[in-house]
Amino acid sequence: MAAMASVGTSALRREGPEKLTGRALYLDDLDVPGAWHGVTVRAGVPRGRIKSVSFDPSFPWKECVVVTAKDIPGKNVVTLIEPDQPLLADGEVRHREEPILLIAHPDRAKAYEARSRVTVEYEPLPPVLSLEDSLSVKEKIFKDDNVFKSFLIEKGDLKGGFALADFVVEGEYRVPHQEQAYIENNAMAAWEKDGVLTVTGSLQCPYYVVKALKVLLGRDESKVRVIQTVTGGGFGGKEEYPSMIAGHAALLALKAKRPVKIVYDRHEDMAATTKRHPAVVRHRTGLTKDGRLVAQDVDVVMDGGAYATLSAVVLSRGTLHATGPYECPNVRVRARAVATNTPPNGAFRGFGAPQTLFAAELHWERISRALGLDALTLRRRNLYREGSVTATGQVLRESIGASECLDLVVKRSDYEKKRKDYDLWNADPAKPTWRGIGLSVCHHGAGFTGSGEVYLASRAAVALTRDGRILVLAASTEIGQGTNTIFAQMAADALGVPSDWVEVETPDTHKVPDSGPTVASRTTMVVGGLVRRAALELKAALDAEGGRVPKTRADLKKSAAALCGREPLRRFEVRYEKPPEIVWDEGTYRGDAYGVYSYAAFAADLEIDRATGEVRVRKATTAQDIGRAVNPRLAEGQIIGGCAQGLGWALLEEPVYKDGVMANAQLTNYVIPTSLDAPPFDVTIVERPYSRGPFGAKGVGELPMDVPAPAVAAAVRHATGRLIATIPQTPERILAALAGPEDA
């Protein structure tokens, strides 16, 4: 009899017992003997040329190690997409938080004191601090037009489409930065031993760090080793910046000839590291009088910050999701990411899609008003279904749960009745609140965009040791989402053994192959698929060896000894193979932008205090089609957690920028949801299996972030009669809108 299937069960979190007892060691918890404390001297001006750096002679500098750009043995660049961001500024400074030099001292307090004794003088240059200033090109800070990247998607005949339209509806939508606000700040340690530079810390993408260190240090991969420590949240915020901190720690450790730890405090982490890109999105939409889309013209601008970093790919995902999950025969999407003298923006759960989907979804409220048709009916008329063709010409073939999700949410939230009930409630002047309920439906492409997975060519392996241990070897990091648990479940089911026979190796680049980064909702679907295939190869080898898969651990040991012979282990490694039906043209942006999409619908049911404008979300109802929930409890955790972040963005969170830096870089005044802000969630997991996903699974990580903000804005409109085309929808914004006229 085969082992009971683990996929589809809520197996317990693998590393849970350690996390629940304080035994899990995050970087700051590690006792690194002899480690000095590293600190970073930052620019303090948004733009300028460095004239001089001086060190207060009254400070005992001989106790410290100081690193400048001149100490970099390789190239002074943080390798990512474009080689434009230096590890340490040398010459021109392009944002206030740009690192200039590094100091390490045996005593943490003295390290901070040393930092305050450095003075950098600049020849100031006029900074570009807003997206609008960048577009106007008053100052050129990147090439001739300040544009890092632009995209154009065209489908059908836009002009012809608008000619067929009975209605044309226009709207402009704006979303701010967002801080990831993982509770563990960025932290990294480095040391060199036997010629190998080891960096360990809080990170999402071990091989991104390896690639950056190779170039910085001029070393090959055998001399650089990156090991993930237990990581206290990422949400995209630990995708790229850890490469910067790893470089800093490495240089200090090499110069000090001893281990160095860099642990950011909250203020430094919030001010200096990446945020969600702010965006302005304009829609011009043509519809027939019965509510069918005939033309969509969308313009997207995102603020990339001072360096290109990930802006091109964030913009790409934003562009590809800009129409929402609706079929329209004639489409144009134009998108640009521009440079400003602010800290670079980067990855945050959703990666450009929440920005453009906010606009696409909230735009239905404007359309609804213009056409006199309700937003639910309008969505139902246009939603993706089997056979729909997207803006890039992709034919949607399978696993399309958009309508099912919407229907479930409408039913479970009692949407239609509440629309009517709340109209009555709101008309009664004696009521202390206004009530509203609003909807959204979103899609989210799983895995890297376009040919991204082909270029990544990710690898993963399953190994059997001679003493009978089964190991999953992958670079995908556990950052709270449950990687360890689901990899063990998927490997176990592929092998037909109990999941507690399977161990998951810690991501250590000297032990695990490059499975690509832990981003883009790709861990379950793409890397999980590799783990499953590798496990099937091991199963085939076991079948060939003993004619069957072992039924007991003693059996397994015997088979392992036979299979391994004299080797310590047998390793079965596989590489990503593109399904043949996925065709993408990078040059024209035509074809299958993603192998498959996940879908979600959301209803925000809220009330607003008539005196204070304060919003309370009474209930959040969501249904999400993720193909297959490998572990339903963990998947639900992703959905509720991601939606809570989306509600934070919609209602509370706003990094305030002053002179090119975040002025509220503290958890005291950058407010994220508490247990009292988070509403009760009603979650339904919809399973429309994807034939190319392991066990039918698609992506789940980012999708939940897309849906809350537009549903909240729609609900606020229902409650107040005002469409507020930006977030967060704070009491101040709501009261200001109420002081103005009702929507025309």
Partner: protein, 162 residues
């Protein structure tokens, strides 16, 4: 010299009396369960119990703990023998990345041990000083409620002094 009881054991601290209790626990006593998330009493990752009351250890100078009882997550259970509350968090997804978990557990324990009501609103109120960015709180609240229901005598846990 400052004397205090940490997780039931007498401990002594020789050093600056205004050193943060959090740093004394983590650096001097090597109890790294309590975490620093913000250093200004906002996130609650450093929550410990001082004479049974939850406090932010990043805001308490160690001298203020002199002669008092300090309890950290390390006192609750071990990976091999989880407490009822910890086991409930494990079963119901109350921990994801885990960085807020020690503070969350300690705050939840204080709530239940002091006779706090085992209902959704009371638990949310009791945990409102502990930020979690992963879970959206629902699985945490469910974990605490299930532990409270499963525990026939929640008062069995030590009650704080008035």
């Amino acid at each position: 010299m400052i004397k205090l009881r940490v997780n039931g054991k007498p401990r002594m601290f020789r050093g600056a009396p205004f050193k943060r209790l959090l740093d004394v626990l983590r650096e001097d006593f090597r109890l790294t369960g309590a975490k620093e998330g913000c250093g200004e009493g906002e996130c609650g990752a450093c929550t410990v119990l001082l004479d049974g009351e939850p406090v932010n250890a990043c805001l308490i100078p160690v001298c203020q703990a002199a002669g008092r009882r300090v309890e950290t997550v390390e006192a609750l259970g071990t990976p091999e023998k989880l407490s009822k509350l910890q086991a409930s968090f494990l079963e119901r997804g109350g921990a994801q990345c885990g960085i807020c978990t020690p503070g969350m557990l300690v705050a939840a324990r204080a709530h239940l041990a002091s006779g706090g009501r085992p209902d959704d609103a009371s638990v949310r109120e009791a945990l409102a000083g502990n930020l979690c960015r992963c879970t959206g709180y629902q699985h945490i609240v469910e974990s605490v409620l299930a532990a409270a229901k499963g525990a026939k005598k929640p008062a069995k846990a030590k009650r704080p002094r008035a």
